[in-house]
């Protein structure tokens, strides 16, 4: 009975549209006033909506709009700083639209001065992206950290078919990269965010494919009769680390993408998989069952014949690790009691911080600025995406239809 009901729902859906909702914000947000940009009225209100949503959903901003303010200056000379000060506004953003290009300015109310003047040249039919660029400029100016509104998220959906999808970081502008009747797992971005690697079962067993996002050109990463999985790009884009099963067991290899040479990295009768590169590409972290349960290990690629060093000790399941972009720690899947949660460990601390509290959280992926972690959760058996920022804000990217999983965050696209 339940099965039939699910089938009916699935047959009606084409896309699993993602809608972002914030479940918790930070305690001490930046207070920013955004005035409608002058010029093209329609574009202005479209941009304003997206920018305000971007800032709000970062969890780090409280946004004032024109109707919340005592005065709405039309140019720099007419700004009455006290009108903003009295409302405890920290920053004021004003802008002009000319022929689809935007010039925006940011004023520091406390300093009573202009702190930024930026121009973003738009291109036709990319208004969302234009708004994301402006949002990222505002975010960067105020927080001192590059914004991630203009970045993308890759993920897999399953309805009647498997789909590899790409969407803006806010879940909008969802597009299909690949559609298949067979499972697709482990999507991963090239460092320049122009290509993706993933595992597809379309040939009857797991194989790693590389696909160009803009052209759709795709090919297997390497011709090999064994199962191949778990692709991860080196930070310079020249190598792909992979798991090969040709030795009668999962072992990690590095593939030179130019000459297709394979170098074996691990040699152990237990499972070795889920490799990931340190930000500078000098180390590889992976999951290994060599201690009797899945734990994280690290290999130093710069040292001759280096032995894997165990780096997780807390609990009996620590897997799928990735490095924070500043190399100050790692994020991974950690089991505490019977629950699988996303956890973080800084290298200079000797304890594990759990970031999530559901039962079956997995596939953490870190934003390029290191500030947000997106991951997959199960809600009533249905997969959806959720996120947590290091400042404590939490959000969900629930799918309205279908099951969503394995998010992977792009690099900067600006």
């Amino acid at each position: 009975m339940k099965k039939i009901f699910l089938l009916l729902i699935f047959s009606n859906s084409i896309f699993s549209e993602l809608i972002l909702e914030i479940t918790e914000g930070t305690e001490d947000p930046y207070r920013v006033a955004i005035l409608p940009f002058k010029g093209d009225k329609k574009l202005s209100s479209e941009l304003e909506n997206i920018i305000i949503n971007n800032l709000k959903r970062s969890g780090e901003f409280y946004v004032f709009q024109a109707s919340d303010l005592l005065s709405t200056p039309d140019k720099e000379e007419n700004i009455v700083f006290n009108d903003f000060k009295i409302l405890n506004v920290d920053y004021l953003v004003m802008g002009n639209i000319t022929n689809g290009d935007v010039v925006y300015e940011i004023y520091d109310i406390g300093k009573r001065s202009k702190v930024r003047s930026s121009t973003v040249f738009g291109i036709p039919n990319k208004n969302r992206q234009l708004a994301h660029y402006i949002s990222d400029g505002i975010y960067e100016e105020i927080t001192g950290i590059p914004g991630i509104s203009s970045t993308k998220i890759l993920y897999v959906t399953q309805e009647n078919k498997y789909r590899l999808m790409v969407a803006d970081a806010d879940g909008e502008n969802e597009q299909i990269l690949l559609e298949s009747k067979e499972p697709i797992i482990s999507p991963s971005w090239s460092p320049d965010s122009r290509q993706v690697a993933y595992v597809s079962f379309e040939t009857g067993m797991a194989k790693v494919f590389i696909q160009n996002i803009a052209t759709g050109e795709r090919s297997v990463a390497i011709e090999n009769s064994s199962q191949i999985s778990s692709p991860a790009w080196s930070p310079d884009g020249k190598f792909l680390s992979l798991t090969l099963f040709q030795d009668g067991n999962a072992e990690i290899y590095i593939l030179n993408l130019r000459n297709k040479n394979l170098t074996r990295l691990t040699n152990h009768y237990s499972i070795d998989t889920e490799s990931s590169w340190s930000p500078k590409g000098s180390k590889i972290m992976f999951t290994s069952g060599r201690s009797g349960s899945p734990q994280l290990y690290e290999l130093d690629l710069k040292k001759f014949n280096s032995k894997p060093k165990r780096i997780s000790f807390d609990g009996n399941y620590n897997a799928k690790g990735s490095y924070l972009p500043d190399n100050e720690g790692i994020v991974f899947v950690h089991r505490s009691n019977t629950n699988f949660q996303i956890a973080m460990k800084y290298f200079d601390e000797n304890f594990v911080r759990t970031l999530t509290e559901a039962k079956m959280d997995e596939s953490p992926s870190i934003s390029p600025n290191g500030n947000v972690i997106v991951y997959a959760i199960k809600d009533d058996g249905m997969g959806l995406l959720a996120g947590v920022t290091l400042s404590g804000a939490k959000f969900r990217l629930p799918a309205t239809k279908g099951s969503v999983r394995e998010p992977s965050w792009s690099g900067y696209l600006r």
Binding site: K114, L178, P183, S230, V333, E362
Partner: protein, 162 residues
Amino acid sequence: MIFSKFNISFLFIIIFLSSCSSMNVTEETVYSGDVKTVQASSTDNEDISYDSQAIFANATVYFDFDKTNLTSKSLQTLKSVVDALNDNSKLNIVLSGHADERGTREYNLALGQRRADTVSQYLILNGVESNRIITKSYGEERPIANGQDEASYAKNRRVQIN
């Protein structure tokens, strides 16, 4: 003449920079980010092989969480598989390993493969030629029970012999 012009414009830049030393000025163009959709053409002929292979050796063996060793019940099942294979020397089999949904997908893919390999090793030790066996894993991607409870998980931790 040229030098003096250069000096004057250089001076202007200095004045401009010093007059607004704390202001950032930037310029950028939006990235197009076009996407092309691709359809994967499936060459997975597993369904066909299910039909064409004789059904004598069809069986499923089950495993404990994060374990790859054979239980006594599994051994019973595998003995009859060995008999079926010995009685039908032309029969080839596919062993597909599976895991339950708990834990990470890639680790589960490797776990499924280990389970398939364990079954393969048992069959080979009991006289089945290795060239009659293909092993592969679907990890947690093809559950047969969709519940989030131990009964469902137990059904999904399996090796299917076809």
